[in-house]
């Protein structure tokens, strides 16, 4: 792990755990229609690593990510980002935390259409009124191959380029953690592979903690570790995943999940 570009945070917050969920419960709706999206989910995200979260539809993987990212509140349990307990924060504090300490890459509609690529990249910084670190931005842009696309509007970029701009935007404030929600879902396989390659590169070479939610085993295989969710709980953990190992774990998970639903 080369730390050629030093993270802004002191090393102790970069300890083994970047984020943590402890017995998190999230319930949607009330009474008979209530759905327990998260039902005692616990998870630790190790710092400087690339973690994939997988699970069938309705397993709560997106909800867990939203909770970890401070996009949503939880009904019980604790969510920690570094030493910060997100469940104790108000809406405004969570917003500030998101723009200071968290990066996002969504499946689609990652960019503000009226801003150019470079403006989108520095958006969280400008919203916070911070000066971007130009050398860092330049390096991100160069690594992601966006140098000749900076002045373009999102509509003038290909899908792959748009997602790479989104990744640059997520990394620009040097967040403690980057969440990617199906980042390759709308890309063709070549563009998807390039993006996943870069995410892995960011984790390994830039010590960036990354959490990716996906249902695609090929995408998850790029991660250092895969966490499986079912029925609102973490049910399995697979280090050093490969496509075949992922597929076999998924097969064993799917069957009981289906049985339970019936």
């Amino acid at each position: 792990m080369t730390i050629s570009i030093a993270p802004t945070q002191p090393p102790q917050t970069r300890s083994a755990v970047a984020a943590q969920a402890r017995d998190v419960v999230k319930i949607y709706g009330r009474g008979d229609t209530a759905v327990r999206a998260l039902d005692g989910a616990s998870l630790s995200i190790p710092a400087g690593r690339f973690t994939a979260v997988m699970g069938p539809s309705g397993s709560g993987k997106s909800t867990l990510m939203h909770a970890l990212a401070g996009l949503d509140t939880v009904d019980a349990g604790q969510v920690l980002l570094g030493d910060t307990d997100l469940s104790r924060l108000g809406e405004r504090q969570r917003t500030l935390l998101r723009r200071e300490r968290i990066g996002f890459v969504f499946q689609s509609f990652n960019l503000v259409p009226t801003l150019s690529a470079v403006e989108n990249i520095v958006l969280p910084l400008t919203l916070a009124g911070r000066q971007p670190d130009q050398a860092w931005i330049d390096e991100l842009v160069a690594t992601l191959g966006l140098a000749d696309r900076l002045r373009h509007r999102p509509t003038e970029l290909s899908g792959g380029q748009q997602q790479r701009v989104a990744v640059a935007r997520a990394l620009a404030p040097r967040p403690e953690i980057v969440f990617a929600d199906e980042p390759t879902g709308n890309l063709d396989s070549r563009a998807g592979e390039a993006l996943l390659g870069f995410l892995r590169h960011a984790a390994h070479e830039l010590a960036q903690t990354i959490v990716m939610v996906t249902h695609d085993p090929n995408a998850a295989a790029y991660a250092d570790r895969v966490v499986f969710l079912a029925d609102g709980r973490v049910v399995d953990d697979l280090p050093e995943p490969t496509v075949p190992t992922i597929l076999s774990r998924m097969a064993s998970l799917d069957a009981p999940a289906l049985r339970k639903k019936k």
Binding site: L71, D72, E91, T95, R98, R99, T114, L115, L127, G129
Partner: protein, 841 residues
């Protein structure tokens, strides 16, 4: 398809609510105006018909015309002996002498000054007289008075009270009765004093003469034939008219004063509807843009383009009909309020039961439904053009090339016309044409110009960081929407700025010419803004005899007919006038009018190709057509200070007019007398003329510009309604734009935009739209005011004056209102749930 249309409309009722409100307000305005003017006219008709209900013929002194500029002419009195001659005509059942004039009532030393007339008349029992006793008994002896029940109620006058009547003579009389008029307790905005015939003659100094003779035909006698017979007996010096005709012509004269208010209200209703039309078109096009996918599905399912068009227009029809129903109802409710508003600004209208003619409802519906449907045609056609396979389409439809080019051409035509007017070669009609093409041209050009303008105007928003930038870009990115929203507000603001600049220019020039020409220390004028002044003639007499006064010179106004048109003239005293004014004669001299001649304003002489030695044919009510020799030419500014373009002597005036009231008395204080002493002495001399007011120069100018202030006040108050509609447009547009940009807002919130920043982004856009409207509206207003001033300047002394203070006030109010308009949508955007916003596809 029809059921789908209804379901669609209901499903979007919140979204259409504001559109609905815009149409409702426009229709309310139209309905209210129609009802108000219908009611005023009906009341006037009723009043004059009631006045002559029991009379068949009326005999008066002959006159060349009945009324001018809404004022009935005064006629010479008739000798009382005529009554017996009329009675002798076969077929006459009754002939009654009547006396009628002006008599101001005072109670407990306080004069009652109504906004209308102070009627003093001889009592005449029904059926000839229109007044009927409500209490007490008729005036029999010379010290008895009957007043109308309405005035008695308002002024707490009871039977047995003493009331002073000021006519040509002043007398205190005892109240012996209260009278009603027709069904009502009195005449609108008037006081009525009824005395016996000899008292009326004495108070009005008529000697034994009477004002007119009322004739009732015997049963079975044809009125027209009787009229011929009476006319033949009396000879050409008298006018015998069917009372019905007199009622009609009196009502028509009174109505001309209502007409201009109606014109004004209609113009304002048109402005409100124009602004409303923008809002409607905007809402429909946004709703349709949002429904593109749904429409595509409809088309894919086999709906034809015509069906889609019909569905959207059907929606517009529903909105239009609903709004028209509500607007008509509200219009009925607001008509009375509108009357009070006009009253608050000094424009008195008769009060009484509201008249809702079927025509009012028809017009209201035609306009409400028509405007809605016409506004929806553009969006509906775009909806029909949605291709079945179209899943998504680019956010901004490219603005049409033809539209832009046409817009440039039309705008250029308007600008050329305006420049021609400013260069001094255009008429008022050309200004109107320029304004029309300006409105049309800018409407067409709007979408093409908006992105650039929004980016330039939005520069200051960059100071607010990303939210400001995004606000600017959002406005620039949806040019059609931004343009329509901003234009709606701009036109409202343009009208207000136009009125403000024009009124200020006129007031300023009135003040300038007045202070330049009139050198008098004081002027005495009637506090009631009557057409001819209405200052009792003894005022001049009393004031000129004061030792503190060096000279008092009076002015009178009169109407005359110039072919079909009516014009006014001023009568002056050529001996004293030069001592209170500094007149500049271009040719001849003022004294020459003593010989019966006339002095013309220089411009009038030029237009009529008249020079000294020529003569001008003028028709007077009393003396018919006379040729007056032109004896001098007066500088235009000076003529304007004397209020007319035609100046004759007071002697000439008394030959042609019966009217015996002064318009103004100019006073020069004697040397060595202090202002305070002079004021005190003059005010003491005015004690028996309660309506007379002593004014210094500033007050005199204010009196002359009062009417302008009244109209400006009323128009501005009503134009605020247009602004309100336009602001609702901003709210509506932003609310819809937020729905459109839900995902973008979700993204911004996810990456760290605080709800405060988001709120400022939305408010910033609102203020930017308002800013665009302000820049455009105020410059349009000033430009067209300049054009109007230039066009009017060809026939009057007028220079453009732009009041920075008042315009800045308009700008500040509009900007603040823009901010307010953004509050609701901003709050709504800030409340959007981040997750839901991200998840929205």
């Amino acid at each position: 398809m029809w059921r789908l249309t209804i379901r669609n409309t209901l499903a979007r009722r919140a979204r259409l609510a504001l559109t609905l409100l815009a149409v409702v307000l426009g229709v309310t305005f139209v309905t209210g105006s129609l009802i108000l003017t219908d009611t005023s006219q009906r009341l006037l008709d009723d009043q004059f018909r009631t006045a002559t209900a029991g009379v068949d013929l009326t005999v008066r002194d002959a006159a060349a015309f009945d009324s001018a500029m809404g004022v009935e002419v005064e006629r010479d009195p008739l000798p009382a002996t005529i009554v017996d001659r009329i009675r002798a005509v076969p077929g006459v059942a009754t002939a009654r002498p009547l006396v009628r004039g002006q008599g101001l009532l005072s109670v407990g030393g306080k004069a009652i000054v109504p906004s209308g007339a102070s009627v003093l008349a001889s009592w005449e029992p029904a059926p000839v007289g229109a007044f009927s006793l409500r209490a007490g008994h008729p005036p029999v002896t010379d010290d008895e008075l009957v007043v109308d029940a309405e005035t008695a109620l308002r002024r707490h006058i009871d039977l047995g009270d003493t009331v002073t009547v000021r006519a040509e003579q002043t007398t205190s009389l005892r109240i012996v009765g209260l009278a009603g008029f027709g069904d009502g307790p009195g005449l609108p905005n008037s006081t009525v004093g009824l005395v016996n015939l000899p008292t009326a003659q004495r108070l009005l100094k008529l000697g034994g003469d009477v004002s007119e003779v009322a004739v009732v035909a015997a049963d079975g006698v044809d009125t027209q034939q009787l009229r011929g017979r009476v006319s033949a007996v009396l000879g050409p010096g008298y006018e015998v008219s069917a009372s019905r005709d007199i009622a009609a012509s009196s009502a028509a004269a009174a109505k001309t004063q209502v007409d201009y208010l109606q014109m004004m209200l209609f113009a304002l209703a048109a402005a409100a509807l124009l602004v409303g039309a923008f809002l409607i078109a905007n809402t429909f096009s946004i709703v349709i843009t949002q429904r593109t996918r749904e429409l595509a599905v409809l088309r894919a399912a086999g709906a034809t383009g015509a069906q889609v068009l019909g569905s959207v227009l059907g929606e517009a029809l529903l909105v239009g009909v609903t709004a028209s129903v509500a607007g008509t109802g509200l219009g009925v409710a607001t008509a009375a309020g509108l009357r009070n508003l006009a009253g608050a600004f000094g424009i008195a209208l008769p009060d009484g039961g509201l008249v809702v003619a079927p025509r009012t409802a028809i017009v209201a519906f035609a306009i409400g439904v028509g405007v809605t449907i016409v506004s929806a045609i553009g969006p509906a056609r775009r909806a029909a053009a949605v291709a079945p396979v179209e899943a998504m389409r680019s956010a901004a439809a490219p603005s049409g090339r033809i539209r832009t080019v046409t817009g440039w051409i039309v705008t250029a035509l308007g600008v050329t016309a305006l420049i021609a007017v400013l260069a001094g070669t255009g008429s008022l009609a050309l200004v109107g044409a320029a304004a029309l093409s300006g409105v049309v041209g800018l409407t067409l050009l709007g979408p093409a110009l908006t992105p650039g303008l929004a980016r330039i105007m939005g520069r200051p928003l960059d100071a607010a960081g990303v939210p400001g930038r995004l606000a600017r870009e959002s406005a620039a990115r949806a040019p059609r929407r931004t343009a329509a929203t901003a234009l709606a507000l701009a036109f409202g603001l343009a009208l207000i700025s136009f009125m403000t600049v024009l009124a200020t220019s006129i007031k300023d020039s009135v003040q300038q010419t007045y202070t330049e020409v009139i050198s008098a220390d004081y002027v005495i004028e009637s506090a009631r803004n009557e057409m001819l002044g209405g200052l009792p003639n003894h005022v001049h007499h009393h004031v000129s005899e004061l030792p503190e006064v060096a000279v008092a010179s009076r002015l009178r106004y009169g109407h005359w007919k110039d072919g079909q048109a009516t014009d006014a003239l001023t009568a002056v005293d050529p001996v004293t006038l030069p001592r209170v004014t500094s007149l500049h004669m271009v040719a001849g001299n003022l004294n020459a009018i003593s010989g019966g001649g006339i002095i013309l304003a220089e411009r009038v002489a030029r237009e009529r190709h008249l020079a000294i030695g020529d003569s001008l044919p003028m028709t007077f009510s009393r003396t018919g057509t006379q040729r007056l020799p032109v004896v001098g030419l007066l500088r235009d500014r000076d003529a304007q200070a004397l209020s007319t373009n035609y100046v004759i002597s007071l002697d000439t005036f008394s030959r042609h007019y019966k009217e015996n009231v002064d318009a103004s008395v100019f006073v020069k204080v004697a040397d060595g007398v202090s202002d305070a002493a002079a004021k005190k002495a003059i005010n003491a001399a005015l004690a028996d003329a309660p309506t007379a007011q002593l004014r210094d120069q500033a007050a005199a100018v204010a009196g002359r510009t009062l009417m302008i202030d009244q109209v400006l006040g009323l128009v501005t108050a009503l134009l605020m309604l247009t602004i309100l509609i336009a602001l609702m447009g901003i709210t509506n547009t932003l609310a819809l734009s937020i729905i459109e940009r839900t995902r973008e807002i979700g993204l911004l919130r996810a990456v760290g935009m605080t709800s405060g920043q988001l709120r400022w982004m939305i408010r910033g856009e609102a203020v930017l739209v308002a800013g665009l409207a302000i820049a455009l509206g105020v410059s349009l207003g000033i430009a067209f005011a300049a054009g109007t001033v230039a066009a009017l300047g060809r026939t009057a002394e007028l220079a453009l004056v732009v009041p920075p203070g008042r315009l800045l006030l308009v700008v500040a109010v509009a900007a603040l209102a823009g901010l307010l308009a953004g509050l609701l949508p901003a709050r709504r955007a800030a409340k959007l749930d981040v997750l839901t916003a991200i998840a929205t596809s």
